[in-house]
Symmetry: D3
Subunit: 69 residues, 6 copies
Amino acid sequence: MPYINIKITKEETPVTTEQKQQLIEGATTLLQEVLGKNPKTTVVVIDEIDMENYGLGGESIKERRKRGE
Amino acid sequence: MPYINIKITKEETPVTTEQKQQLIEGATTLLQEVLGKNPKTTVVVIDEIDMENYGLGGESIKERRKRGE
Amino acid sequence: MPYINIKITKEETPVTTEQKQQLIEGATTLLQEVLGKNPKTTVVVIDEIDMENYGLGGESIKERRKRGE
Amino acid sequence: MPYINIKITKEETPVTTEQKQQLIEGATTLLQEVLGKNPKTTVVVIDEIDMENYGLGGESIKERRKRGE
Amino acid sequence: MPYINIKITKEETPVTTEQKQQLIEGATTLLQEVLGKNPKTTVVVIDEIDMENYGLGGESIKERRKRGE
Amino acid sequence: MPYINIKITKEETPVTTEQKQQLIEGATTLLQEVLGKNPKTTVVVIDEIDMENYGLGGESIKERRKRGE
């Protein structure tokens, strides 16, 4: 019953349902392959964060994106 | 000053204000009864997660709900 | 498959195994009673935090305990 | 590469972009000044929580605000 | 700069350094492959939780392990 | 009643009690100055993570420190 939380920014191009499914599947498989964890009780939660609520290097990602970073 | 975070899925039928109040009250009372914690400084945060952002068994809850799970 | 995280301080008198079981049981029952969630997939994680790593009102709990708070 | 998560309530007056930038900058500078951490890899995430999803003293903040607290 | 938090139980056989490296690498690669995220700023944090602090189905994992679950 | 969680690595030189107090004070003051939050109900939790449990760029910090990073 591992718990995996993935926090990513909400970009101009939204994350698709298919990509979310790949993240859930990939994270669950990773815990199964590395630690033999049971997928049936592996929980994955994806948090999508507004770019102005996410900071790196003292700046919001919204600002960094304006410079193409 | 315990901190309690409750993550639940955002279902078709939204969680009501009354239910959220019951979760806050119930969690605060639990910490008071079991550990004698002071309700006045007990913090409860409820996160409601989109069903396609919440995975169990390698699948999103959105997919599982389609099968009535 | 709700996920509940409980953060509490590591006090002079440690939290007993029995109390942890009561917290796990109580939190799981709370989600079942209020929202009808399935206990089988309800995850509860208890984090015990050193008193000097836990702050309230700009002070560590370690300092506050010295004043009997 | 410290990770700082700030959870605040979504009040009637929303938090401005400028204030979020100040929180990101301030938290990053704090880790640099106190522990010499590299701002370039310091991550700050701000979560804005609905007032009825945030509880203190067994009540939602939404209820407390009605009493001017 | 995604942030990935993995919570697992501290089992009788501890997680090895090599396994932790595989979890960090695997989670970072997953975000790169699915969302094109830059590994250089991808943060992974692994929390190892005592079995009596981790609950599923209203019971601690410590209790479930006694029954071989 | 903001909640601030600071995750940092457990380095060779441990974080001192004084530094933890500075982090708690600094984070509390930051929320007071920027958003006018009440220090009395501001919670700060510092998590110190083993270097092999903390990854950046697909590698544990333990490995990066071996190269002086």
